[in-house]
Amino acid sequence: MHTQTNSVGIVTPQTAHFDTPIILKSGATLDSYDLVYETYGTLNADKSNAILVCHALSGHHHVAGYHSEQEKRPGWWDNMIGPGKPVDTERFFVIGLNNLGGCHGSTGPSSPDPKTGKPYGKAFPFVTVEDWVETQARLADRLGIESFAAVMGGSLGGMQALSWTILHPQRVRHALVIASAPGLTAQNIAFNDVARQAILTDPDFHGGDFYAYGVVPRRGLRLARMLGHITYLSDDVMGEKFGRILKNDVFQFGYGVEFEVESYLRYQGDKFADSFDANTYLLMTKALDYFDPTHHHRVGLSSAMSPAQADFLVISFTSDWRFAPGRSREIVKALLDNDRRVSYAEITAAHGHDAFLMPDPHYHALVRAYMNNAAKGLGI
């Protein structure tokens, strides 16, 4: 069933183990760690056709294809990546990985700490976008990739792509920064903090060491995800999808599920609470909050981005209020100030922040056209 001509088909994750200690931005050191990753397509002889796909808050390494014939849903960006798709795996070698601190196979708070044999829990250090870029660069070294044809991502993934161009300007030819921002706004940090407070104040959280108690802070995780979900959608699309539709025709005058939107949010919350690690959620939201290329330099974004050498495609979506088009325009402005090659598109879309994951024809045509020229320019 998963052998459609435009799918990468069945894929098997791989694990890279790293023994060289990494000093993180927080000052903490991790002596060793694993990164789980998947690849699609074939790395060419001169290793010039590699694309790194960076994931967002709740993403992971499973970007495209299926893990088994039984798996119902493909990887999270399967509509974008595959043979003949906008990011064409017939031409490019695409890498998806689970970031450090994640909960899908890479070393994170739920992984055993080699010193104790028990999950790291609250002992796991904070990670930043820059730390991720460093670990991703080490994975690239391991795979023999000197320079990426492109680094791409949406939302938090776009921040990683942006950071790559600043930290490793010689190693990125193209950056696709989608539905992203050069730093979160106060409102955005505020949403993250409410989500974190939901987890941190859950009695089952146990200061982050809930693993030892055989419990999961489900209520907190569930609330965090429900809140997140509201902000990833637009008012219009929620109205269109759910409106004021009731599950039963009459008011129940109770606190059970009455409106369709409640049913949807609780379902999403439950699903997430069953599959995601609470500590990872906390870490990822903090990485989002900390991201700010201007922070350490006390300069404007244009100066902070002056090392970048890559060509850019920057894309935003009209109804995205969590990573609004204005934030993408800040990135574009910084690139213009540095005379970098950049194209910027504002896609008319109803789906809010989630639009970057949707198969909008114009959006996909743009990425396809951009990647075609990137391939031509690199002689792929």
């Binding site: 574009v332 100030d337 951009y370």
Partner: protein, 194 residues
């Protein structure tokens, strides 16, 4: 093959390796031509989705934004040339756009159709609004809300403190030197701040 009569004239004025900004760049044909003919680099500004895609397909840098809001995001004097090819007459705030062209660019290059062209004058005398191959719209569906004659435009430039450096008048692609405001239907102007 150049798609529009004014492109060759524009290319003659754009210095080699110049940095250009093309306002209302359409499908990116002019920028691609300027890159090939003059090794010019820069960006186009467009609002229409289909044109954004056409530019990306041509490997032309394009920024999707509404020109009517001005050129915020572009630093003063950051371009050698700011070009506005056959778009001025469709804009709401002409004074703002000309001011912005000369804020952002060292020089401006603007192409405008001539409403004083003799065939149009005859159509008016005949009692109808002019419709022609180069201005094919009816009065009720035209995007061209600010049509003028060459004489009008030049008077406007004087009033706005804009110094015209060069003018190239054409009629259906051929150069016109005699009675330009009567015999020309298109002109390209190069100008700077007076």
């Amino acid at each position: 093959m150049i798609a529009r009569a004014d492109f060759a004239a524009i290319a003659r004025w754009v210095e080699p390796n110049a940095k250009v900004l093309d306002l209302g760049c359409g499908d990116g044909t002019l920028l691609k031509y300027l890159k090939e003919a003059r090794n010019a680099h820069g960006y186009g500004i467009e609002i229409a989705d289909a044109n954004i895609l056409a530019c990306v397909e041509k490997n032309v840098n394009v920024i999707q934004m509404d020109l009517e809001a001005g050129l915020s995001g572009f630093e003063p004097q950051s371009f050698d040339f700011v070009i506005l090819s056959q778009t001025l007459q469709a804009m709401r705030n002409i004074e703002l756009v000309v001011k912005e062209i000369l804020r952002v660019g060292r020089q401006g290059i603007v192409t405008i159709p001539n409403f004083g062209y003799w065939r149009r004058r005859i159509q008016i005398i005949g009692g109808r609004m002019p419709v022609s191959k180069d201005l094919p719209y009816q009065w009720y569906d035209t995007p061209n809300i600010h049509l003028c004659t060459f004489v009008d435009f030049e008077a406007f430039c004087r009033d706005q403190g804009v110094r015209i450096l060069e003018r190239h008048v054409m009629c259906d692609g051929d150069d016109v030197s005699l009675l330009p405001n009567l015999l020309g239907n298109l002109a390209v102007y190069r100008f700077e701040k007076a």
